[in-house]
Amino acid sequence: FNEAWKKTKVTWYPIPVGLGIAFIAFQHMLRVYVREKRKEQDTTEFRPIIVGPWQVHVIDALPLRALSRLWGRINNDYNLPVWLREPFYKSYSWLFDCNLEEIENTDLKSYPNLGSFFYRALKPDVRPIENATLVSPADGKVLSFGLVNNGKLEQVKGITYSLDAFLGRKEGKYVIEPGKQIVDVVTSTHIVDEKEFANVNGITYSLDALLGDDPVDATKQVSSVGEDASVQSEENNYKKELDVAKSVVNLHGVREGNTLYFCVIYLSPGDYHRFHSPTNWVVEMRRHFAGELFSVSPYMLKMLPDLLVLNERVALLGRWRYGFFSMIPVGATNVGSIRINFDKALRTNRREDLPVGTYTEVSYKKASKLFDGQPLRAGDEMGGFCLG
C-alpha cells in the first residue's frame, strides 16, 4: 500500500464543462424542491402543541411510530422456535393475566409468534351476546362514560376534549390560538379514492340522501337483482329497525328527545384484542386520522389530556335506531395496527402516512344497496388491534 501510494503517478484531467453545469443545475433544483416542500408542509401541517408534565415531553421526543413499527416487525415477522413457544406464551399470559382456557386454539405451539398469539380468537360460546340496547364491543376496562356536553367529551375526571377534534368536522381546519390547549388541533381533509367506494365530503350529512326519499324504493332495487325473498324479508325488518325519521342530522345536532353519549373502554395487553359490533347499526363511512402513537394506559391518559385526539385512530361513523352512532378504535404504541374486517384497503401505522392531524375519508355507501352502508349486528366481529 505504501509503495502504491508513493509510486502511482497522478494524472489530472479537466472535467467536461457540460458535466459541471449539470451538477450545478442539479444542486439548484434540489434546493428549490426542498424549499418548496418545506413551504408546503408549513402551510398544510400544524404540529400539535403537547401540553403536559415533563414525562409527556420526554415521551413525545421519542420516535413512537417508528418504534411501534419495529415492535410489530419483531413480533410479526420473526417466528419463535417451537420449543420456546409454550413457556413464552404461558409466561406472557401469567404476566398480563390472559385466560388461556377461553382461546379457540389451545395448542400454544401452533402460534408462530407473539403477533399471532396476541390476535388470538376465542371459543364461540365463551362470550354470549346479551339482549340489550348496547353491549360492550371489546374485553377491557371501562375508563369513563357519560353525556357529551357542548361538544366536549370527558376523558378522565375533569378533563375534556372536543368532539370536533376527535371525529373531525366539516370545515376541516382548526385554528390554533396561542396558549390554547391541543383540543383545537388541526385537521385538513384529504379525500382518497379507494376502489369501489364513493367519496363523501364533509361531516354534516342528510339522512334523506343516505337512505333515499323512500326506503321501499331501495327494497325494490334489490328485488330486481333477484335476491332470495326470505333473506329480503329478514333484511327489511332489520332495515326498518335502523331507519330513522327523515330529518337532517349532524354530529352536533341531535333529534328532539335525544342526546349524545360516549363510552371509553381500555384494552390492556393481556386482553382479547378483537372488537365486535356493540349493537345493530350501519357503518356509513370511516375516517382514518393520522396521528401519534402514545400509550393509552390510564396513567398516560391522566398525564396527557388530549391523548385520544392526538393518537392515530379510525372513526367508523354511521347510524342506529336512535340516530347517529360511531365507534372509534384508537391505536397505541404497541398496537398501532387497526384492522377492519370489511375494509381491506385500510392500512394504519404506515411509514408514508399522512401528516399528523389529517384524515382520509372513505364512504361505505356501496357496501350494501339496501342499507346504504355496511350493516352490522350486535356481536359481529368487526376487526381488531395488531402488534406494531
Partner: protein, 32 residues
Amino acid sequence: STVVLVFEAPIDFKFCMKPGQKIKYGQKIGEV
C-alpha cells in the same frame, strides 16, 4: 388500545356499569 363509542340515544338511556369496571365483549353496557 382503546375503543370509544359516541352515539345519539334517548334522554332516558342508562349506562349499566361503573368506571374502572372490567367488562367482556357482549356484556350489557346500556339500556333505554
